[in-house]
């Protein structure tokens, strides 16, 4: 997988600033690479993840402001994304059912300030595992769904409403039926919260029956998975399917298995916001990812063809 710094990519493209779009890459979205059933137009979306609204603690002394800063940063992008997707853990868990709903509504109020035409949401285990998605469904709607956008088929898979971290046979049947009429060469994007593959099951960084979903997706030639949960950028391939984890907007977690406990990376006052950020994903084959970091004031840190 090729990784270039933002500066190198801009030099390569011969532009001096602004956001890098897939349409700027020669051939990246040409009809030849798109196929008959490929995307009809170039676009990008923004992935935000693991905002954990309601969290308070030393791992992020700026927790009251981080989400608002991210909203302002998305609104300040040189070009508006076609949509924004939140890949789970919108709120931090609480046993208090009224408080859970209050956090969800507060979150909803803050992100309503995003200047985008469409916001897609999905739950994380912090939102949905204690009540099997009841509060989430009341406020945000379905926990799994599908939609089409400019020739790309998007599917949000719920691997959190079951507290045992399974997608479940019923949803797998729905996925099979949902994909039945999607052409085999059409671009397909899967949004999930947990990784579908066994990244590090000891830290709950896996989906119990995720391999069934991956096996099912093997029948399509151009599948990409975007997920959250692990609070860090991570890229991995199962067969031909790339899986991209996004940074969190509350606190970073250590690399998988790098220490005995899955404890948050301590807040560093010398580098506030280090490890936090969000991602732009521009339609290309493969998707062109640009990571934006809180620490650098949401300036693009790197672009990756992944």
């Amino acid at each position: 997988m090729a990784t270039r710094t933002r500066r190198e990519l801009l030099q390569l493209l011969g532009v001096g600033g602004g956001v890098v779009f897939a349409s700027g890459l020669a051939g990246a979205c040409s009809p030849k690479t798109r196929g008959e059933n490929g995307p009809k137009d170039d676009f990008f979306f923004v992935q935000l993840s693991d905002t954990h609204w309601g969290f308070k603690g030393p791992p992020n002394p700026d927790a009251e402001n981080t989400l608002r800063k991210a909203v302002a940063a998305v609104n300040a992008l040189p070009r508006d994304p076609d949509f924004v997707v939140f890949t789970g853990d919108l709120t931090h868990t609480t046993d208090d059912e009224a408080e859970r709903r209050r956090r969800m509504r507060e979150f909803q109020g803050i992100v309503s300030g995003l200047r985008v035409q469409k916001r897609w949401f999905m739950p994380g285990e912090h939102d949905a595992s204690l009540d099997r998605g009841k509060a989430y469904e009341e406020i945000f709607g379905q926990t799994h769904y599908a939609f089409d956008h400019k020739g790309v088929h998007f599917v949000a898979l719920d691997n959190v409403s079951d507290p045992a971290s399974a997608v479940g046979d019923a949803q797998l049947d729905w996925l099979r039926s949902e994909l039945k009429n999607v052409p085999r060469d059409a671009p397909v994007v899967i949004f999930t919260h947990r990784p579908l593959f066994d990244l590090y099951p000891q830290w709950d960084w896996a989906t119990k029956d995720g391999s069934k979903a991956i096996d099912l997706l093997q029948g399509w030639k151009n599948v990409t998975v975007f997920y959250g949960h692990i609070h860090q950028e991570h890229h991995f391939k199962t067969g031909d399917i790339p899986h991209h984890a996004a940074k969190s907007l509350i606190f970073p977690l250590p690399p998988p298995g790098s220490q005995p406990k899955r404890a948050p990376v301590p807040w560093d006052p010398a580098h506030p916001g280090r490890g936090l950020g969000f991602r732009e994903s521009a339609m290309a084959q493969p998707w062109l990812l640009t990571e934006l970091s809180v620490e650098e004031g949401f300036l693009p840190a790197a672009a990756r063809s992944g």
Partner: protein, 40 residues
């Protein structure tokens, strides 16, 4: 503090084994891990 639960298991070898909570149980779930000591 949450409820105390008893777990029945039949060990087939002695030793110390790590365990991690496999069902999301609320705040602090991430720290729900420990060791089971099986002594002959």
């Amino acid at each position: 503090m949450g409820p105390l639960l008893a777990l029945l298991l039949l060990p087939d070898k002695a030793g110390t084994f790590e365990f991690h909570c496999g069902v999301f149980c609320g705040g602090g779930h991430e720290e729900m891990s420990g060791q089971i000591a099986v002594r002959p």
